[in-house]
Subunit: 229 residues, 2 copies
């Protein structure tokens, strides 16, 4: 019935509209980002994607597997670009420890770049990611762990080189503060500040702000131990 879907479609009258499967992926990503994983039902998705109710179960198996597919599609390129950028930062340092700002930028920039505007308007996946980092769903947690574990390992090592005075636990700590700030800001980007006018974000300066904020935090906390406690 649906076993050999290695080649879901050979070649036929395409161009009319995207395949059902990818249409569902796009629509589901947007709805999940806007309203949350549990709030959005498979009926919401299939209706918005102009597909049949059974389409999600047919193409993905279950709702959870659809969610996993959405994360796979975004997280794999994001984390690949992170590792590439980290390699470049280490290479640029030429034997010496990499610059703290370069390491942080290697981590932050891909999240912002892929988090926004993949032909869908706005921040979409960035918001989805922010929400799901906070959610207690254990299966989702396991999925994210698989994606992030190798990335975290390499960035931890690089950060310990860039900040030799910090222990592993302290780097772990500060990195989590950075991740929190990053994703919270991605989520808040389209909220209006106290003064009504909508906030405008320019990609490059946004990344620089985040990097500067995080880098300062890393350096400041390096001396907190000698100041207090």
């Amino acid at each position: 019935m649906k076993d050999q879907q290695a080649q879901p479609k050979k070649l036929a009258g395409e161009v009319d509209r995207a395949e059902t499967k990818s249409r569902i992926l796009d629509v589901a990503e947007q709805l999940f980002a806007k309203h949350g994983l549990e709030t959005v039902s498979v009926r919401d998705i299939t209706q918005a994607a102009e597909a049949n109710l059974g389409a999600i179960n047919y193409h993905f198996g279950t709702k959870k597997q659809l969610i996993a597919a959405i994360f796979d599609r975004r997280l794999i390129p994001i984390n690949q670009e992170r590792l590439d950028a980290l390699d470049a930062a280490i290479r640029a340092a030429g034997g010496k420890p990499p610059r703290l700002e370069d390491v942080l930028e290697a981590f932050i920039r891909p999240a912002v770049r892929f988090g926004m505007d993949p032909k869908l308007g706005g921040i979409t996946f960035g918001k989805l990611m922010g929400r799901c980092l906070m959610e207690p769903n254990p299966e989702l947690e396991a999925l994210l762990h698989i994606h992030f574990e190798p990335v975290a390992r390499r960035f931890d090592a690089a950060l310990m080189q860039a900040m030799p005075h910090l222990t592993r636990v302290e780097v772990f700590w500060r990195m989590h503060l950075t991740v929190g700030a990053l994703h919270h800001s991605l989520l808040m980007l389209d909220k209006t500040p106290p003064g009504r006018p909508k906030i405008v974000i320019e990609f490059e300066s946004y990344v620089q702000r985040l990097v500067a904020f995080a880098a300062a935090g890393f350096r400041a906390l390096a001396s907190v131990k000698s100041r207090k406690s």
Copy 2:
């Protein structure tokens, strides 16, 4: 039937166990913090609280009103303590602008203090708060807005005095990065770092870390505009 619940109970054989209503509040707070608002059903709560299924609807009206009651119970004292601490910081400055660290500590310390250990083990409300800040539930958003709007207004003003070079939008921005870092860290506190041993947190040094991280971020970003963009 249940209209005049001004005096839910006069005075009788208490001490055996807490009232049903407050028992539900405690249990629901813990379950919501651990598993999320949508995942936990009213049946989960009433069973864990050893109450009848109808108890939530009887005492609170609806599940959403129970959630609102949970937030009211914690947020009112937290934000009151924030405002008191802010007053103290301004008073301590004696006419001059308050110290940045004092303002940030006035905001952060109550969240950590009330977020953890109100006779329940662990971080409980801190986690719940972190999750719900990210959630797209519009009614919840409205509830949080009511609680935070006056607090945000006063802290914005104080931060603009402490950092006179920053515009209102820039303060808004940085404050959100700080809030993101704060709540993400509260959520992550009981996760284990890469090295297996569970992380131990000491209240005072934890607060100082967060304050130092945020203050450094505020100061660093003050000069980002002249550096780039």
